[in-house]
């Protein structure tokens, strides 16, 4: 038996792949194909669906829900950016500065996953409620007007998405940062690159202004105020905390982690619907909500399937552009 297996050992890779491929075929490829057929059909759930190669399903749904598509991409992008801004310092601290507490900190990053996704989102309803611990305190201090609210706004939706997907951004970043050879950083510092030489003033100002400006535009707050605030805070952080060795050595070497983390965050964030449903408002609905409504409430399977495939195509396109921008040759080596 062993002799026979050795003679036919070129089949080994295929046999090893077989369980995974069969799983994918049954539970992904086949249903996706069914859904593709459904997306080109017409009919209602009462009269049944007939396949008529109805391409108008795609064009009609795209024009009708263009608002929600753009909004979903914007919210997903905002959530990814904010998650990156929070996760990078966190991953940096765990990789470079944690020492003995590294495992504990990693455990704390994953700890929210012990509770259910829905429960965590619902708890944000309590935290952000109009008279709750954040908005209520701000109101009593007089910082915000009486009719201000955080819940049922785009800001709450993005905050919820960010919170839910933060560990997906942190862990790949940590792995990439952890792999960086410290001797390279030492060498850069020996060659006058820091650690205390401020490298980030201009970069910080520009990046801060740009990011906060985009975010305030998405949240429908005052954009000029956001740009000024972002420029000031970005400039301060850039001057005080970002050294040249960080900017020119650590950041480029961590790009595989950035790529992997942002993909893992952006892709599910765009299709998310739970946060928009629980924390949002009618003018802040995402494409995930539309697909859910079409599938489950209105039972309009063709439109819902068409929307799903359109969303898939959009995300693939966005990822392709992103991969080109970052340069894919170096990215597979260190990505999780």
């Amino acid at each position: 038996m062993g002799e026979w297996a050795f003679r036919h050992r070129q089949w080994a890779p295929y046999l090893l792949l077989a369980p995974g491929l069969i799983w994918l075929a049954i539970f992904y490829a086949f249903p996706a194909f069914q859904m593709f057929l459904a997306s080109l059909s017409v009919g209602t759930i009462e009269t049944g669906f007939t396949f008529t190669f109805q391409v108008s399903n795609y064009t009609d749904s795209l024009t009708r829900y263009s608002d929600q598509f753009i909004r979903s991409l914007a919210y997903g992008l905002a959530a990814t950016i904010i998650a990156f801004l929070i996760a990078f310092p966190l991953a940096y601290a765990i990789a470079f500065r944690a020492g003995r507490y590294r495992n504990l900190m990693l455990f704390l990053v994953i700890a929210p996953f012990f509770t259910s996704f829905l429960l965590r989102t619902l708890s944000w309803k309590i935290i952000l409620s109009d008279n709750g611990m954040i908005v209520g305190v701000l109101k009593s201090l007089g910082v915000v007007p009486e009719d201000f609210r955080l819940l049922a706004t785009p800001a709450a939706v993005v905050a919820g998405i960010t919170y839910n997907f933060l560990p997906f951004m942190t862990l790949p970043l940590y792995v990439a940062l952890e792999k960086i050879d410290r001797r390279l950083v030492e060498a850069a510092e020996d060659l006058y690159a820091g650690p205390w030489r401020p490298g980030g003033t201009i970069v910080g100002t520009l990046v801060g202004a740009g990011l906060v400006g985009v975010l305030t535009w998405i949240f429908e707050w005052s954009v000029p105020a956001g740009v000024v605030f972002g420029a000031v805070v970005g400039g301060l952080i850039g001057t005080l905390f970002v050294s040249q060795s960080f900017l020119w050595v650590i950041l480029p070497l961590s790009l595989p982690g950035v790529f992997a983390g942002s993909l893992l965050t952006f892709i599910p964030a765009v299709g998310d619907y739970v946060n928009a449903e629980l924390l949002g408002t009618p003018t802040a609905q995402m494409i995930g909500n539309v697909i859910q409504s079409r599938f489950l409430k209105v039972n309009d399977i063709p439109t819902a399937s068409a929307l799903s495939f359109t969303l898939m195509a959009m995300i693939l396109f966005a990822v392709f552009i992103y991969a080109r921008a970052l340069g894919t040759e170096d990215l597979t080596g260190g990505a999780v």
Binding site: T44, I45, E46, G48, R64, D67, Q68, R102, N103, L104, L106, F107, A111, F114, T115, K125, I126, S129, D130, N131, D147, R149, L151, A152, Y174, V175, E178, K179, R182, G280, T281, P282, T283, A284, Q285, N289, V290, S293, R294, L296, K297, V298, N299
Partner: protein, 424 residues
């Protein structure tokens, strides 16, 4: 060992790190297991059939068992907390607190089993009409197969759709004493089921204004839903017939005879409210959590819900607007091909006895369609019997309307228009 080798994700596994890892995982599992069991929200276990172990409560009259000891089984799908359940005080051991849950056994179900010998498999399987239709009904019935249920409870429009598709059995009333004799006359003239041949109303409800009287005073007009004073603290219902119906009443139209033009005008009013950011959210049953937490002070509401919330927040009130309100009914129906049709009919007959209906009414607090239930309830719980929300007086009855029954094409058109307005 260098720092890299001791990293949990990239280094070699040493015995020390394995022990550390398992300790952390163990602590994590311990913390996860130590969460308080279950939630406080009413999601009863509704497990399996009730055994006839309890004697009927003394307050109820034992109805004449018109079918004798029929025996057999009955699979009944109903909405949450829609029959008289028992209150489980929850971990704190006290009734009337936030962690209570509603669970079986149900006193009237036990009485039913004692009277007829039928075992009831009661499941709270219905959360949403379309959802239940999509998951439980459409599949089997479109293939002419029986569903898993002998008796289901669906709201008017879904009942109309099922009747239109011919997926409902006619109720055989030949042996019955209570149905349709005890059915209130108003239910005999509904357009989708004249004479109540295929649907037996279970409970009705009214859609009106739910508000926090401490913050708003007494509200009574539909104009309050468009009042800029409540900007950002207003909820609308996601049920198209309720929201557009109320808007139509405010414009002076009659929802039971609504035309396309009137529908568009009513919908435009709602669109104005949404675009001017008057409306905070449009949701279904979870408007209750918003009202309870104070994020919302005025909402379109269903009559029975507010009564149930009043235990926690006594300032919440419900009013049918002076211009009018919507009436909807949840109906018992027997899906086509149900194996236990006789048992389902026995159930309907049993629950149309005024004494039994009164017991259910006492718990559920919606509008009862059974004649004589009010008098029977006076004996058990006079407060509830005199509650105008459960037994509306004639002047309220005169101004609540049922939304017009729609055919498939119109329903699809209206739903599409409605979904566009609410952003879905």
């Amino acid at each position: 060992m260098t720092e890299r080798d001791s990293s949990p994700l990239t280094g070699a596994l040493s015995r020390r790190r394995l022990l550390q890892g398992s300790a952390l995982a163990g602590i994590g599992a311990f913390i996860a297991a130590c969460r308080p069991a279950g939630g406080g929200v009413a999601s009863p276990t509704a497990a399996g059939s009730t055994a006839p172990t309890e004697a009927p409560s003394t307050g109820a009259s034992a109805p004449a068992a018109s079918t004798g000891q029929l025996g057999g089984k009955l699979n009944f799908a109903n909405w949450t907390a829609y029959i008289d359940l028992t209150v489980d005080p929850g971990p704190d051991g006290q009734e009337g607190t936030a962690d209570d849950a509603y669970v079986l056994p149900s006193p009237t179900l036990d009485q039913f089993t004692q009277a007829t010998g039928i075992e009831v498999n009661y499941k709270e399987a219905v959360n949403d009409n379309e959802e239940f239709y999509g998951t439980d009904l459409q599949g089997p019935l479109s293939q002419n197969q029986p569903t898993a249920w002998d008796l289901i409870v669906m709201t008017d429009f879904m009942a109309a759709r099922l009747i239109r598709q011919g997926w409902v059995e006619t109720i055989d009333t030949s042996g019955m004493t209570n149905f349709p004799t005890n059915l209130e006359d108003a239910y005999l003239t509904r357009t989708f089921d004249p004479g109540a041949k295929m649907t037996a109303p279970w409970q009705s409800g009214m859609t009106g204004i739910g508000f926090d009287s401490a913050k708003t005073g007494e509200l009574s007009s539909l104009d309050d839903f468009w009042d800029p004073k409540y900007k950002g603290k207003l909820d609308y219902l996601s049920e198209m017939r309720d929201a557009v119906g109320l808007s139509a009443i405010r414009l002076g139209f009659d929802p039971s005879t609504i035309t396309d033009d009137q529908f568009d005008k009513s919908l435009a009013e709602i669109k104005k409210a949404i675009d001017s950011k008057l409306v905070r959210t449009i949701k279904g049953n979870d408007y209750l959590t918003d009202l309870a937490s104070g994020d919302v002070i005025v909402s379109m509401a269903w009559s029975g819900d507010i009564i149930q919330l009043n235990k926690d927040k006594p300032t919440l009130a419900f009013a049918v607007a002076k211009e009018g309100g919507m009436l909807w009914t949840d109906n018992m129906m027997i899906p086509k091909g149900a194996p236990n049709k006789k048992q389902a009919e026995a159930f309907i007959d049993f629950y149309y006895d005024p004494g039994i209906a009164a017991q259910v009414e006492d718990f559920v607090n919606y509008v009862c369609p059974v004649k004589g239930a009010k008098e029977a309830l006076l004996a058990i719980n006079p407060d509830n019997a005199n509650n105008p929300l459960m037994f509306p007086p004639a002047d309220v009855l005169a101004r609540i309307k049922v939304f017009k029954g729609l055919d498939e094409a119109t329903e699809k058109k209206y739903l599409n228009a409605w979904n566009t307005v609410i952003g879905l």
